[in-house]
């Protein structure tokens, strides 16, 4: 492997073909490409809404009146209020748009925190081992086995006693979600660190006299975190669902300090009984489409980095090749690993 790596470095491909998402689109075929492109567009819309919420939302998230007077309550969709108004007189469309911003903030904070903590703990646990490893594994397993929503509820009680302002609420939700995610990153990174610990390059670094810290931070870190982007996309969608779940149970952010889809859905439950559908359907659809977009991106990228799954798109060649594959078995064993490693 080491001798092969040198010629590869010399013929680098142009930069634009090496940008992660673009390479994935180029690599994909058929249904897989459709899934990836749909996912990317949904995610793109979601991000645009989040960034430009102040420009795109006709009203503020807690605005109940404008120059022409107070907004009507529980008003069906009309020209002025595209998706109607809620029982409190909020404009549903504006709240859905602003909700995207809250969701992005929570995802970014949550995933950043959990990657940081999970990777650090995983590296330390896997590389150092011993009693530290054992204790961390038992705790991580206990938390991992527990319903994530309940972990998040307990954490949000701890952090904010359940009530919060905008940033307080975002951090409470984000940290609650972080605690759920840390075990996942921890497991992946720890397993990789243990595997890499026995690799020759780590031993040579030790022989040269590199400190444990340097080995962890440079040699193992770079190699152990390869699958992190995949977990990231999958976790981003889970973060949105957890945030919505917290909000739905009344642990979200107060409606006056930010807009949150789960909170709006909670309020909409009683509306539905009276046949008022617009207060619930739109925030709900926003959650579904956002999670759908992120999941499609995550799934497609996951499939694409797995050579066995990637072949699925080339329908005819695989079915024809499947019968002949047995004769060429030795090749088939070695190729998925090397391809998967590059992706």
């Amino acid at each position: 492997m080491a001798t092969q790596a040198v010629p590869q470095l010399e013929r680098r491909e142009p930069l634009w073909t090496r940008i992660p998402v673009l390479t994935h689109v180029r690599m994909s075929v058929g249904v897989q490409r459709v899934m990836l492109v749909v996912g990317l567009s949904l995610t793109g819309i979601f991000l645009v809404l989040a960034v430009f919420a102040p420009l795109m939302a006709p009203f503020g998230y807690s605005q109940i009146a404008d120059a022409s007077g107070g907004f009507p309550t529980q008003d069906p969709p009309s020209a002025k209020h595209l998706w109607g108004t809620t029982v409190g007189g909020f404009d549903v469309f504006s709240r859905v748009v602003w909700g995207a911003q809250t969701a992005v903030l929570v995802i970014v904070v949550a995933v950043a925190l959990s990657i940081f903590a999970g990777v650090a703990l995983g590296l330390a646990s896997g590389y150092i081992g011993g009693w530290l490893d054992r204790i961390l594994v038992v705790i991580a397993d206990a938390v991992y086995a527990f319903p994530s929503l309940l972990v998040a509820i307990v954490m949000s009680i701890v952090i904010s006693h359940g009530q919060s302002s905008l940033w307080g609420g975002i951090f409470a939700a984000a940290i609650s979600i972080t605690v759920v995610f840390i075990p996942q990153y921890f497991r992946v990174v720890r397993a990789e660190a243990i595997r890499l610990k026995a690799e020759p390059f780590v031993e040579s670094a030790k022989v040269i006299g590199a400190s444990s810290w340097r080995i962890m931070a440079r040699h193992i870190f770079r190699n152990a975190t390869r699958s992190i982007p995949l977990i990231f996309t999958l976790n981003a969608s889970e973060a949105i669902l957890t945030l919505a779940g917290l909000g739905f149970l009344g642990f979200g952010i107060e409606p006056t300090s930010a807009s949150e889809w789960g909170f709006d859905l909670n309020k909409a439950i009683s509306d539905v009984t009276a046949g008022i559908w617009w207060t619930g359907v739109f925030p709900g659809l926003a959650i579904v489409l956002t999670v759908l977009g992120l999941t499609l991106v995550g799934e497609s990228m996951n499939d694409l980095s797995d050579a066995k799954l990637r072949a699925r798109g080339r329908k005819r060649t695989t079915t024809a090749g499947a019968k002949g594959a047995r004769t060429a078995a030795p090749q088939g064993v070695s190729s998925p690993e090397s391809e998967g490693g590059k992706a």
């Binding site: 527990f146 954490m155 739905f248």
Partner: protein, 363 residues
């Protein structure tokens, strides 16, 4: 901590005699060790929950702070013993938990144990209903998707699976309610039964708390019909979303085994496609399926909390949301600990089943 120091000697001591009897390293040893591992898991969760909930203050201030004058608050805190050192309270709490005493709720002053059994049966009923829906829908669809791999049917089913992941259960519940209860008016909007049924079931001599069972035992068919009508939508909301997970699980594992040589061999012997998918390929695919389904129980419980709130299904989840709003953290702690126990025990059962099916599973 007492239990933690007690468990290791047990874990080290008990397996040895069993191992001798069975001839060393056998299934029995594995099962005993696996069983003993339940306790540290539960202990860790109980400890984490206890200290996390107490870091920010005592339950009485959380529930009543701001509503009672400070001196009365002091008296109540002192009466409940929350002004003692945290470690003392912790060991006392552990002792109580081991004897099945979880204290009394603050908001409605009920014994937590009684509250757990009352609402636990309702949650159990919902979870089982949802599991039935998930099995009936998820497994056959997964088989179809694996068999028709990469065809239109498969693509459609994958979309359903991804959608079922992307949809929060409360939104699914809201849509079902909107369509079937409000627009079509086929099914009741919420609750576990109508008021008259609840009254007649409540007057039973020894109610089990499982409404359909109670209704059948009393021979009251109208009540039974009423209860079942109420059960449909919550079970569908939670069950269909879980079905998506099962579908993916069955599909992926079945595709793995369908590609094996022995399936090809079966096909060449003239075994029907139906039998190949449902018997030959499905059985070996079961082990990963069972393992992951066990993990789904945790997810199902999390989903039950949200489903119950959506449908005012008066179970643990519904109560949890109520107690959370009332900031009654004694009750919340009780519910969380019970769920932790359920999850730990389920994981144990899953490991046992996996070990019984597959002789290679030994740690």
């Amino acid at each position: 901590m007492t239990a933690l120091t007690e468990t290791p000697p047990e874990a080290a001591g008990l397996p040895t005699p069993t191992a001798k009897r069975k001839g060393g390293g056998g299934l029995a040893t594995y099962l005993v060790i696996r069983f003993l591992l339940i306790f540290p898991t539960i202990l860790i969760l109980v400890t984490l929950v206890f200290f996390l909930m107490r870091i920010t203050g005592d339950p009485i201030t959380a529930a009543l702070g701001g509503r009672l004058p400070a001196d009365q608050l002091e008296i109540r805190i002192h009466e409940a013993g929350y002004d003692r050192p945290l470690l003392v309270q912790y060991f006392e709490y552990l002792g109580q938990v081991f004897t099945g005493n979880f204290g009394r709720t603050i908001s409605d002053n009920r014994a937590v144990t009684e509250m757990l059994t009352t609402f636990g049966t309702a949650t159990l009923e919902l979870a089982i209903n949802a599991l039935i829906v998930a099995f009936i829908v998820g497994i056959p669809l997964g088989m179809i998707a694996a068999h028709r791999r990469d065809k239109g049917t498969d693509a459609g089913l994958r979309v359903f699976a991804i959608l079922s992941y992307a949809t929060p259960v409360f939104f699914a519940g809201l849509l079902l309610k909107l369509v079937f209860s409000v627009w079509l008016a086929w099914l009741p909007v919420d609750g576990r039964a109508s008021t008259s049924t609840e009254l007649s079931l409540g007057s039973l001599a020894a109610p089990t708390g499982v409404y359909w069972l109670d209704a059948l035992r009393s021979g009251n068919l109208t009540a039974f019909w009423d209860v079942e009508r109420h059960a449909v939508l919550p079970a569908l909301a939670l069950g269909l979303l879980t079905a998506g997970v099962f579908l993916r699980l069955v599909r992926t594992n079945l595709i793995g085994t369908l590609g094996k040589d022995y399936v090809e061999a079966g096909r060449s012997r003239g075994v029907s496609e139906f039998r190949l998918v449902t018997k030959h390929a499905y059985k070996p695919a079961l082990i990963p399926i069972i393992t992951i389904m066990g993990l789904q129980i945790a997810l199902l419980l999390g989903g039950a909390v949200l489903t119950e709130t959506t449908f005012e299904w008066k179970g643990l989840g519904f109560q949890l949301a109520q107690y959370l709003t009332a900031r009654d953290f004694v009750a919340v702690q009780g519910i969380v600990v019970l769920l932790a126990v359920i999850v730990a025990v389920t994981n144990f059962i899953v490991d046992v089943v996996a070990a019984l099916i597959d002789p290679r599973v030994r740690y």
